[in-house]
Amino acid sequence: MVVDELRKRFVPNGPDVVDGISFAVGRGELFGLLGPNGAGKTTTIGVITTRVHPSGGRVLVDGIDVSRDPVAVKRRIAVVPQQSNLDRTLTAAENLSFHAAYFGSNRRDRRHRAREMLARFGLEGREDDAVNNYSGGMAQRLMLARALMHRPQLLVLDEPTSALDPQSRLFLWDTIRELRRDGVTILLTTHDMDEADLLCDRIAIVDHGRVVALDTPRRLRQLLPSDAGLELLIEGGSDPSQLFSGIEGGRRVEAHSAGEDRCRVRIYGEDERLTEHAAGLARRAGWRVVELRRIEGTLEDVFVHLTGRELR
């Protein structure tokens, strides 16, 4: 999927809500779109899913221009929205079955697949319930099941876990990983940094209608070099305050007592040999190293660094 210099302006002389967004998602990739409210994520998703006409630029799904042939694009995609849009007149099984009917599946196939999907998403025994009686987590699972009924090539998940309990969220994460293994291309929007970090192959951070950073989660975290370094938990020595002050490759040192004659020390710096230097220094001064780990900036730090702290 290719988004190329996408622009959208809803009012003729108003601002560009999407102001030249470009990114490409490879087949089978799990791509995250991250950004504060009003950054242009939902509008971008709207264009990809044929619901918003772009003011400029273009979007290709499987090589097909979304504006030129929306019907062909609709055959290839599926969307799980933020808010439930299930058919409340119908039961859960009927929601799945009729969705498949729209995509030309015959009655026997779609009944079979609906049963299969209900079992996979833990909704067995609730298939004849009215979806009005479904909890938020169940509705979410049913919408994902519905999205998969017609075997889409591109699955768009718009903030899928924002209203879920931890169990449902873990289940959803597992399912997303499975789908990725099955080769489904996934576009995910989220506010949840851990979710993006955990799941996505690559992430585009969007703000004010533009892509402000695009990379793998790991490389994005490294955008904040001042937050990289080491954390040690040491015990048994005395006066840690001056211990690491002149350490080679360290820019800044923080030491706090951690109780029971233990001390937690953070040494900031990117030097590869920082670990050896720190361990050596501690040992020579009579400290025992209990715990040692590298620290990186979190995605959240990077996000706030790039998009600022103002409320939207």
Binding site: F10, R51, P70, V71, L86, D87, F98, H99, Y102, G104
Partner: protein
Amino acid sequence: MRPITRSDVAAGGQRMSAWRAFLGLCQRDLWATIRHEPVAFLSQALLQPIFFLFVFGRVLPEIGAAGNAYGGQLLPGIIALTVVLTAVQNTALPLVIGFSFTKELEDRLLAPLPVEAVAVQTMLMAAARGVIGGLLILPLGQLILPGGVSLGQTTWLGFVVILVLGAVAGAGMGMVLGTAVPPNRISVTFAVVLTPLIFTGSTFYPWAALARLRWFQVLTLANPLTYVSEGMRAALTPVHHLSTAAIALGIVVSLALFGALGVRGFARRATS
């Protein structure tokens, strides 16, 4: 003859899949009506006409406020009213709710067919409900009206044509209402639009009988329901009615106008 190319095949496949999606949507609507909401549908469609038939067609003649033959005049108008109002309500309300509150329309809009085709499908299914509502007035009239229903002078072809076209025109009006009115205003709009629609549609009297109230007679020509009522009167009774050409023109203009505006309004709400 031009050889069949790969893109021809692709276009044929696309039309096929759009057609299947269209049928899938129809199946869903039929299933939902028959299986899940038959009572809701029937009461919404029939309760009001039942009371009109009973009060105007039975009670008024009984207490001497109307002539005994009035029921025969009333019946075609009530059929027309039921057809049009049922079609209006079965497009306008679900659209308002589905676009804004429940978002239920989203899954239909992502079905593999053009948005305009979804609009047409929605209108046709609402029209089908209107047709069923209208047909059910016949046995109800037989039960309620003192003189029953006499169909001896019915032009059946005319009856069916007016029934179907009136229903589609009503669905078009409903679609315009449902897509043009913001959701928070729908209840006031219904009150403001439906009441005049009901009472200026030549429902309760033949149009020609308004000759002594000329200004009102002219005014009622602006109401699409007038042409459906007069068409029903022409098909079912021998009384004097609007000319066939005027009826045809009125219905065709309503169909074209509201159909086009409705589809356009739907496409506008569906995409931005």
